[in-house]
Each structure stands twice: as structure tokens, then as C-alpha cells.
Amino acid sequence: MSAPTTTVGISDEVRELADQEYQYGFSTDLETEVAPKGLSEDIIRLISAKKNEPEWLLDWRLKAYRHWITLTPPTWQHVSYGPVDYQDIIYYADPRPKKQVTSMDEVDPELRAMFDKLGISLGEQERLSGVAVDAIVDSVSVATTFKDKLAEVGVIFCSFSEAVQEHPDLVRKYLGSVVPYNDNFFACLNSAVFTDGSFCYIPKGVHCPMELSTYFRINAADTGQFERTLIIAEEGAYVSYLEGCTAPVRDKNQLHAAVVELVALEDAQIKYSTVQNWYPGDADGNGGVYNFVTKRGMASGKNAKISWTQVETGSAITWKYPGVILKGDNSVGEFYSVALTARRQQADTGSKMVHIGKNTKSTIISKAISAGHGQNTYRGLVDIRHSAVGARNFTQCDSLLIGKDSGAHTLPYIDVKNQTGQVEHEASTSKIGEEQLLYCRQRGIPEEEAVSMIVNGFCREVFKMLPMEFAVEAQKLLTVSLEGSVG
């Protein structure tokens, strides 16, 4: 596969903006109940007890933990970072006010102020956009909206902890069914210590009446975040799920190891969109979030469809490969990604498409932008198994380099075991960026605006896959990220 590489020259003026402070850098002092640092069976028992979990779930966590201690962190990814001290992490922090929240009025005013700073006032969102927000601060859900409206059509959208209490059979049936507890080092760690996340269930034939949205946020110092998300779309169901996040400035690296599992049964469709803006670290690369995430969907039924769309602009290190297991005949998997690395950010990201069913189809569109000292690696796997008669994949990955010190790498893996399989790769043939930049400037468009225009054009194929409001937000985020960190 060829990966065209484009270069955009940057002036000193643009470079000067490089040291701008992270826009969402602040932290809020909430009454936090924290567990002691470190990881052991006792800590896991504490988490499980705090959350009043059934025996089977504690057993599952312990099984994961006992496996995890036999593993070593992976080293194959194209990123470099110092060793993580897993005994120096707090695995449980509860920001919940003492009494239970039943309406927005009862939400901690300080917490609401924090949402305001993030521009995601829940009340506003409730009224204006018709988006249900399950806001997560640290590890426990504190506010869930639109529940009643969703309940009318039988959609369950709640925190993971709540799902464990209210819908244990569903959780037990699907937890670990797509990403097993022993899948990889970070997924295994997550399985042992996850504290909360989102749960979503769309019953048979239901078209979810609104976009479901979750804002994730890291808050308490030294708190590793181990979210667990599980989305199940029954036969013929449809859901569009939005995930977006920001994180406060910290001077110490923060580990984020989430697991997302999607299950789409026959004729079901899940559209999962992410705008990721974790704190990327300062100009020297200190303090950013480590984002080591396992995201996978199982298109288990005939004609099932799962789409991942991601815009990744944050994190010091991103390590994720949202994928789809195409088990059902005629099932479809899609991956659309924009990954921006600036300053000292590193990203090793791509997609895994595993074709098992007949006539399964997958599409991978990856756009990587590297600025400053950013390093961006596309790593993708297209795996066409013996059984996958007539399977098809289309992959396109393009890189855009801004400045002289950034890097882009492409590492595609292709494994075709069925000769009827059809694997296609395409690359755009954009000319070098300096010519584009000069063209824009000759027409009177100032350099910084021209860079933003070229980059947004480069990403358009992905942006158009995002829901409207999210696309606008993503475009803004990309422009802001570039303004603040090109250099």
C-alpha cells in the first residue's frame, strides 16, 4: 500500500503559537473518596464490594487480574514512553456527592461549573440538541438524562455499574464476548479493575430516537481511568453513539485503558463516533495522557453493520485499533479516522477487520496529520479467513506532514486465506503541501488560515461521516489543535 506524504511549510509566526496553553486545562476540587494506591486482589475486592457487585463479576475480575500479572506490557507499537508504575496508580476514586442525585438541581454546583467550562452544560444539551448525556467524572456516573424518553422505546442507556445492578443477565451474557478478559495487556488490566462506563441496549427493531452521547473526563490526580463500555443492538436495531472527552492539565502521565465492546445482531447497525481530546502534554511532552484503548465490534448477525469514526487530537500517546469482527454473512465494518499528532505526541493507530462470514465488506479510511515533533503510525490488519467467500476490503491511508520534525509511518498487515477475497488499496495523489500553501497565499489567504483549510479539506471524507454537530466541533478542535501546536 502506498501512503502519499504531503509537506506543509510553516512560518515563524505560526510556530510562535506552539506554546499556547491547553484550552481545557483546569481541575475541580470535588469531595473524592479514594482507594489506596496500588493493585492487588484486595483492591479488586474493594472495588467490587464498593460497587455491590455479584459474585460472578468479582470472579471474572480476579481471573483477569491473575492472568494480567503473568503478562508484560507490549513493546511492538511504534511509540516510546517511560515504564508505567502500576503500583503507583489509584484504582478507585468516587467523586459522587454523599446523597444520590435525582435531578440536575442536586448536582454538585462545582461539578456543574466544570461542565460549563467544557461547554457541555447538561441543561442546555437537554433542551437544545436532544442528545442524552451520560456524563462521567472520574469513575462514577453522576448524571444521566433523557432516561425516561429512551425507556419508552425500551432503550437502556445507563452507567455500567447501574447495568450490573439492574440488568445483570445482559451484562453477564455480553461482557467479554467481543474483547475477552485475556485479549491483551491493557484490556486484561481493564477487566480486573474497571470502575465504570456506559451500557447501552437497543431492543429488537428499535431505531434509537436520539444520538447517545457520553463525555469522559479524567479528574482526580493519579487516577487511572478504566472505563468499560458495552453496546448491544438487537436484531434490526439502530444506534448512533458519540463519545467525546477533554482532560485537565497534570504534570504526571495519566494512564487511560478503556475497553469498548459493541455487539450488532442480524440487520442491526451501530455507529460509534469519537472526538478525543485528552491532554496531550506540554511542549516538551510532559504530563500527557496515555490512551491505550481496546475497541472492538462484533457484527455477529447477517447484514449487521458497525462503523467507527474517530477524530483523535489529544493524548501524549494513543494506542488503539478499533476493529470489527465480521462474523455474520453480508456484514459490514467501517473505520474512518483522523489522527493529529503535534508537539511531542505519538499515535500508533489503525483498524482491524476480521472477515469470517460470506460477502463481508470492510472499509478503512485513515488520515494522519503530524505537526511539530508528532509521530503518527498507521497500523492496520485485514484478515480474510477461509470461510469468508467473496469478502472485500477497501483501505486508504494518507499522511500529511507539517514542518520538518514530524513523522508518519504506515504498517499494513494483510492476511488473505480465501482466494475469492478482494483487497483494494488506494491513495490520494495530492501534490506537495508547499505548493498548496503558496497557491492559497497567492490568492490572499493568510498562511495560518490556509493550513487550517488544507488540513480540514484533507480530513473531509472522515468529517462527513460524523453527525452534524459533532463534525462542526471536530473541525473546530482540529483548527484549535493546529493553531496551538504547529511548530
Binding site: Q436, L438, R443, G444, M453, G457
Partner: protein, 254 residues
């Protein structure tokens, strides 16, 4: 309006322009002809401020030092280049691009920006000049355009941005005779008292359609002959090698 004096330019220690002198008055159309490698396109590049050249000498544009300005400032001052090879900008709509460009110019000139509706009306009117239809505007800038479409798109931008100094770099290259007619009639429609044009070409053919006031011949980085439109015909008949001393007016004091 444009005075070029002893202009030298080199790239990677190779001298391309070796003392160019030219004087263009408002409303005049000057053609620069010359064989490949004579420095014609480099002259255009230096005038618009392309990076990478070591430049000496002076270029005075409407009384100001053109060489001291950034490319976007030159554009705002009214300098326009119809590129020889217009670049593709994937994902950026042609209409959006042109509106952004016009509004950037207007902003830099302290004029009010045009909204989408007013811009559309302007664009539709100017598109007639180069026989372009609406579908061009919804495509990405130059992406998948044929050679002729790219050149027409350049002239359309010229018509919309209304420069005071328009430099046309090999605008005829790669055009068949029909496309050439369309492009040339677009350019002719834009000739006016307040607009100076510098037409770079190595074919006399273009000058049958865009008839210049003056013709200059460039060779080895210098203007070696200057004359009126008949010079182009003479070149066509005898080639660059066959120039007679009679027509030579070295120094270009036209």
C-alpha cells in the same frame, strides 16, 4: 505601475535571473517570450514571493517595495498569478476557496466581506466569461480537472479577484484550440485601463488571441529584445536564433 530593476534570482546557487529590467505602465499588456529554461517562470515566481530564491535588485509596484511583502500581502496589493500548474486541494470546495480568497483580500483592504448569496451571484456572472458551469464550483479546487478546466479556473479566479497586475504563466500550455479561444476571450474581457498584464508564453499562437502592447524576449535570465507585437511574428517566422539586430532593443526601455 511595475518597475523591475537589475533583478537577479538564484536557487541552490544557480543563477536563473541575471539582471532583468522591465517597466510596465497601467493598462498595458506585455508578453514575455523565450525558450524553455530562459527564466520566464522564475520571474513570475519571484514576483509573487515564492520561497527558496535568493533575490537581489529591486521591484517597485505602485511605489512600494514588492519584494518586502509576503505572498498574501502582494495578493492584497492586487498581484495575481494564473499558475502554469494549478495545484489540487482535495476536500476544499472551489466555491468555498474562492469566497475565502476574495474575503481575505477584502478584509486586508478594509472592505466588507461578501456573504454566500452575494458571492454566488458574482461567481455566476463571472463564470460566463470562461464558459464554466455550476458543477465546477461544487468540486474540490482543481481536483480531477482536465488541463483546460484548470486554466479556465485560473482565469475565473482572476475575474473574481480583479487584480491590478495579472501574471499569466503559460496559460496556453496544454490547451486545444477551442479551449484556447475560451481562455483568451476571458482574458480579453478582463483587459482594462486599470489592469496591467504580463503574459508569459513560448508560443506566438496565444498572442494571436491576446494581442500584446509590447513583446519581450527572454534568454539566459535577461530580456534580450523588446518590441511591439510584430516581434512575436518575427520570432514565429525565424525562431529565437533568427532575431535580426534591427529588432533588438536591449534594455527594454519601452
Amino acid at each position: 505601475m511595475l518597475k523591475i530593476k537589475e533583478l537577479h534570482a538564484s536557487i541552490e546557487n544557480k543563477e536563473i535571473l541575471r539582471g532583468v529590467n522591465l517597466d510596465l505602465k497601467a493598462g498595458e499588456v506585455h508578453a514575455i517570450m523565450g525558450p524553455n529554461g530562459s527564466g520566464k517562470s522564475t520571474l513570475a515566481s519571484v514576483l509573487i514571493g515564492r520561497d527558496g530564491y535568493d533575490v537581489s535588485g529591486s521591484v517597485t509596484y505602485e511605489g512600494q517595495d514588492l519584494l518586502a511583502l509576503s505572498p498574501e500581502e502582494r495578493a492584497a496589493a492586487g498581484v495575481f498569478l494564473a499558475f502554469q500548474h494549478p495545484v489540487e486541494i482535495p476536500g476544499v470546495g472551489n466555491m468555498y476557496f474562492m469566497r475565502t480568497a476574495l474575503n481575505s483580500l477584502r478584509r486586508q483592504r478594509g472592505q466588507e466581506e461578501l456573504d454566500a448569496v452575494d458571492f454566488l451571484a458574482l461567481a455566476q456572472e463571472r463564470m460566463k466569461l470562461v464558459e464554466m458551469d455550476q458543477t465546477f464550483m461544487s468540486r474540490s479546487v482543481n481536483e480531477g480537472f482536465s488541463g483546460g478546466e484548470k486554466k479556465r479556473n485560473e482565469i475565473l479566479q482572476m475575474a473574481i479577484l480583479e487584480p491590478k497586475l495579472a501574471i499569466l504563466d503559460e496559460t496556453d500550455s496544454g490547451l486545444d484550440i477551442d479551449a484556447l479561444r475560451v481562455v483568451a476571450s476571458g482574458v480579453n474581457a478582463l483587459r482594462s485601463e486599470g489592469r496591467t498584464m504580463l503574459v508569459i508564453t513560448h508560443h506566438q499562437r496565444l498572442l494571436d488571441y491576446i494581442v500584446p502592447d509590447f513583446v519581450h524576449v527572454m534568454a539566459a535570465g535577461q530580456i534580450v529584445h523588446s518590441g511591439d507585437k510584430d516581434l512575436a511574428l518575427e520570432l514565429e517566422a525565424n525562431g529565437y536564433a533568427g532575431l535580426t539586430p534591427r529588432s533588438a532593443r536591449v534594455g527594454a526601455s519601452v
